[in-house]
């Protein structure tokens, strides 16, 4: 490759909002119910039914807009996007084209070189999700489940401001954190509650005009996004280098093969015949409503990190990890507020929590143990009511079932035995049974005492304070 190229990327990010009910009717949005059990005349597009906007959707959309520095459109409208497909019961999708709720925003991201750059947000609009088609190959027919029909989405459309996969991931992470902090969505790529379509073009480094872009769909993980960006940039550069032209088209990424396939070209693009939906009245956003939403905005991650640095004596690394999830940060802050030492809370989060999250594939936002229980566990260790290996055992149960550690320790008889007589008896027995180790220790092998402590712990079924055993062994030897 003789020439140097630059990759230009813009994203369309769909986020499923965490409302209890759908965008235009009262049906539940809960995931996993039997097919078509969460439907009504509105979300199945029955004749004569009419949409009514769920106010929570508007509030979430505005909250995301404010958090991403957008202008909030004070007189917004819904438009109909007309296209025929069986997952779309009305054969039009209610979306926003002409007057989307948020416009002209942007978020700051860190670049690869460690600098800061702003990725512009062209607009955020509200829309309804479609149902799900299930192709039954056995019966050779297609079935449709409208449970997802009418689930609220926002689409966040960026400017073509990103230049690398790293910037794309940083931007997505930023959005994810903002939206999760707002509680507006859980933003899980794998589960589809956050979906990113990548618009990508390449141009010679220094060129002003944009190249012809393609849109890449079906990207279900950060890894897939990175790979698709690299693959598509290479594909386009190869085309240009070999004198061919990039065709404006929508492509589908196949992560298994690591390749993309053309889905439809611009020539096949449908005319969606957008027009304002006459069934929905225009939205006017009042000053009071804006003020109310502003008032409710949480402390976002950047501010939280700054505050933690000032308030708590814990490593920057810990702060970075803890604040990556509002839920984890909430656990941290609440446990500390209950009197637990920040560093100890942080250690539990950095150590056992992360280990179990990885082992059991649990997301930080899905952590179940309560901060009060964590604070109790820390107190039990501090007061030597349990030793640290028992604490880890208890924590595992808390992690799964959020049990009260105090009660659990009591019920299971896991309390450290502080009975001097019993301990002494056990130590004496261990000394008697392990003459070699005793001899080693006496002969100057300090390490041999570790083996004897272990044997005593075993005899005590783990419910002893290792420090106390150590002291007693040294006395008796």
């Amino acid at each position: 490759m003789s020439k140097q190229y630059e990759t230009v990327i813009g994203l369309e990010v769909h986020v499923e909002l965490a409302t209890k009910t759908k965008i235009f009717c009262g049906c539940s949005t809960a995931f996993g119910a039997g097919p078509n059990t969460q439907t009504c005349p509105v979300c199945t597009g029955m004749p004569g039914s009419l949409p009514v906007l769920n106010k929570q959707v508007l509030e979430y959309a505005i909250a995301v807009g404010l958090a991403t520095n957008c202008d909030i459109t004070r007189y917004a409208k819904f438009d109909r996007k007309n296209y025929f497909y069986p997952d779309n019961p009305q054969n039009y999708q209610i979306s926003q084209l002409y007057l989307p709720i948020c416009q002209n925003g942007g978020v700051e991201i860190e670049t690869e070189e460690g600098g800061i750059k702003t990725v512009g947000i062209h607009e955020i609009h509200m829309e309804e999700d479609a149902g799900k088609l299930i192709h039954d190959e056995w019966e050779d027919c297609s079935l449709v489940d409208y449970n997802r029909s009418g689930v609220p989405l926002i689409e966040i459309v960026s400017e073509p401001d990103m230049r690398s996969a790293q910037e794309v991931i940083a931007y997505l992470e930023k959005l994810r954190l903002i939206i999760q902090y707002l509680g507006a969505s859980d933003c899980k790529l794998q589960e589809g509650s956050m979906r990113a379509d990548v618009n990508l073009s390449v141009r010679e480094l220094g060129a002003e005009a944009f190249g012809v872009r393609t849109e890449m769909k079906n990207l279900n993980s950060f890894r897939a996004i990175s790979r698709a960006i690299a693959g598509e940039a290479d594909r386009q550069i190869d085309l240009i280098e070999s004198g061919e032209k990039v065709v404006q088209e929508t492509r589908r990424w196949d992560d298994a093969s690591g390749e993309s396939y053309a889905m439809r070209s611009k020539e096949d693009a449908q005319d969606y015949r957008y027009f304002p939906d006459p069934d929905l009245v225009p939205i006017s956003v009042s000053e009071e409503m804006l003020a109310e939403i502003r008032e409710k905005q949480p402390e976002f991650r950047d501010d939280k990190m700054k505050r933690y640095k000032a308030e708590f004596d814990i490593p920057d690394y810990d702060i970075d990890i803890i604040t990556q999830s509002k839920h984890m940060a909430d656990i941290f802050e609440a446990a500390v507020a209950l009197g637990a030492e920040p560093k100890k809370v942080s250690n539990w989060l950095m150590g056992e929590t992360l280990r179990l999250m990885k082992e059991r594939e649990v997301d930080a936002q899905d952590l179940r143990f309560s901060p009060a229980h964590l604070a109790t566990l820390i107190r039990l260790v501090d007061t030597k009511a349990i030793n640290s290996s028992v604490a880890k055992e208890v924590f595992e149960v808390m992690f799964e079932e959020n049990v009260d550690p105090e009660q659990y320790v009591e019920e299971k008889g896991l309390k450290t035995v502080n009975d001097e007589g019993a301990l002494k008896k056990a130590v004496e027995e261990v000394i008697a049974a392990n003459p070699q180790s005793v001899a080693d220790y006496r002969g100057g092998k300090e390490k041999a005492i570790g083996f004897l402590v272990g044997q005593t712990m075993k005899a005590m079924k783990g419910k002893a304070d290792p420090g106390a055993i150590n002291r007693m062994l040294k006395e008796l030897l």
Binding site: M46, S49, P51, V52, N82, P89, R273, Y274, F275, P278
Partner: protein, 483 residues
């Protein structure tokens, strides 16, 4: 007097007084329908069993004192574009030939709560697109005054059923005159209320921003009574209004003294039948004699209403009718290869000519590159028309004019020339574009014995003024004809 000739209010009174029962009235009406409807074809569906069952239940409630309203026990006919749970609702289209809704339209629910007995579903122009009830997939409805003539449309089945005594009153819908014009052709009273007064939930949409449900009745008292019952704020309809002034029967007062009535010169010009014109001006004189101040004025913009209307209504219809695709309910072509072929074939076979024409027109005006030139321009015209009406209502309490340029045309005359048919909506359409209330009141007959209707148009929320003037006119003219 035959029971079937009674007005709704008088029948309810007779039922309350124990002189007759809801069951008797329903039986009489079903008999009347059996007798007359083969000829007139007012109904797509007559729900004989259901009606009798409802009548029994309603009668029991009346006797227990649970139902005391002024329409309790009175059988009604419902236009076939209003959803009725468990009862076939076709929009007079082949594409909905087997559609049985799972819920009932809010306006109909309001009637049921008031003790209405639903007789069946009335014929109409397919999806309310037409002015003659000839575009129905279930045959034409004939005008009871002369069966060689159309009843008007699109609520032609409802209007003809009221005029023929095949129901005590009916519901219709009005997108560009679809209640007022057939009322005028059939000699019934028909009212389109202010947009947002009656919930559209359950009304199968034609032009969503223009559609309103309203009553077709034998007289003005029934009209006010029915409107009072069906008007309601409905959380299920975002365009539904909260109104405190829906006690429409309070307006049934014989008094027009000091009312300022404007007659637009634009409504008396070229194209208006001389006999219709004479009848309208005569009606205006009657009101003037009762103390109203009647003046001529220029409304302006009238000629732009038709193109603006057909652009907006067709655009909305093209989208509203997309859901009829043969997938979930309704007609599906028997043979097809693949999804898109199924769509095309089902819709080509399921929709009639006029519906297809308007879907094509609507799709065109919304298509990229034409949207601004047609759809947006039509919206601007709509806003200007509203402004012209605002100026008129600064001077007048109401506007008086004809409902339609002629009396009911002969069957088969209109569809051959759709543009001419569209032009027939000239006096009714602007009212929908501006969201205003309008009422059609009988004001005589032409030399062929076909009814003529007078239209009164009010500013938004001024139904009561219209009802009061219409009531006054009706009282005076009935006394004159009694002489």
């Amino acid at each position: 007097m035959r029971i079937t000739d009674m007005t709704a209010v008088l029948l309810a009174e007779a039922i309350r007084e124990g002189k007759t029962t809801a069951v008797e009235a329903t039986e009489a009406m079903l008999e009347r329908i059996a007798d007359k409807d083969k000829e007139l074809n007012c109904y797509v569906t007559v729900d004989k069993e259901g009606a009798l069952k409802q009548a029994k239940q309603v009668q029991e409630k009346i006797e227990k004192g649970e139902l005391t309203g002024s329409l309790a026990g009175v059988p009604v006919a419902i236009k076939d574009n209003l959803c009725t749970e468990g009862l076939l609702t076709t929009c007079a289209s082949r594409i909905l030939h087997n559609f049985v809704p799972a819920y009932t339209a809010e306006a109909v629910v309001n009637l049921q709560k008031a003790g209405a007995v639903i007789l069946g579903k009335t014929n109409m122009d397919e999806f309310a697109m037409g002015s003659t009830t000839e575009t129905s997939a279930y045959g034409v409805t004939r005008n009871p005054h002369n069966i060689e003539h159309v009843p008007g449309g699109s609520s032609g089945g409802s209007a003809a059923a009221v005029a023929a005594g095949e129901c005590f009153y009916a519901l219709g819908s009005d997108t560009g005159g679809s209640i007022r014009q057939p009322a005028s052709y059939c000699g019934a009273v028909g009212m389109k209320p202010t947009y947002g007064t009656v919930s559209r939930y359950g009304l199968i949409a034609y032009g969503s921003s223009l559609d309103q449900i309203g009553p077709l009745t034998k007289d003005v008292r029934d009209c006010a009574t029915v409107l009072e019952v069906i008007a309601s704020h409905d959380d299920k309809d975002s365009t539904s209004l909260v109104r405190q002034d829906t006690d429409f029967t309070k307006a049934l007062v014989e008094d027009v003294r000091g009312m300022r009535i404007g007659i637009p010169n634009d409504y008396l010009g070229e194209g208006l039948d001389e006999e219709v014109k004479t009848a309208i001006l005569q009606a205006a004189r009657v009101l003037e004699e009762q103390g109203a101040v009647v003046e001529r004025f220029d409304l302006s913009l009238v000629e732009y209403a038709i193109p603006a209307y057909y652009t907006i209504a067709a655009a909305e219809a093209s989208s509203n009718l997309e859901r009829f695709d043969g997938i979930k309910y309704g007609y599906r072509a028997e043979e097809y290869t693949g999804l898109h072929h199924m769509y095309k074939k089902s819709r080509s076979e399921g929709f009639g000519e006029e519906v297809k024409r308007r879907i094509m027109l609507g799709s065109f005006v919304l298509s990229s590159g034409y949207y601004d030139a047609y759809y947006l321009k039509a919206l601007r015209v709509k806003a200007l028309i509203k402004k012209a009406f605002d100026e008129a209502f600064a001077k007048y309490d109401m506007i008086l004019g004809p409902v339609a340029p002629t009396t009911a045309p002969r069957l088969g005359e209109s569809l051959a020339d759709p543009i001419k048919m569209y032009l027939g909506d000239i006096y009714t359409i602007a009212v929908n574009l501006a969201g205003l209330p309008g009422i059609s009141v009988p004001c005589g007959q032409d030399s062929k014995g076909l009814p003529i209707g007078m239209q009164l148009i009010g500013d938004c929320f001024q139904e009561k003024k219209l009802l009061q003037a219409a009531y006054t006119y009706e009282q005076i003219s009935s006394r004159v004809s009694d002489l």
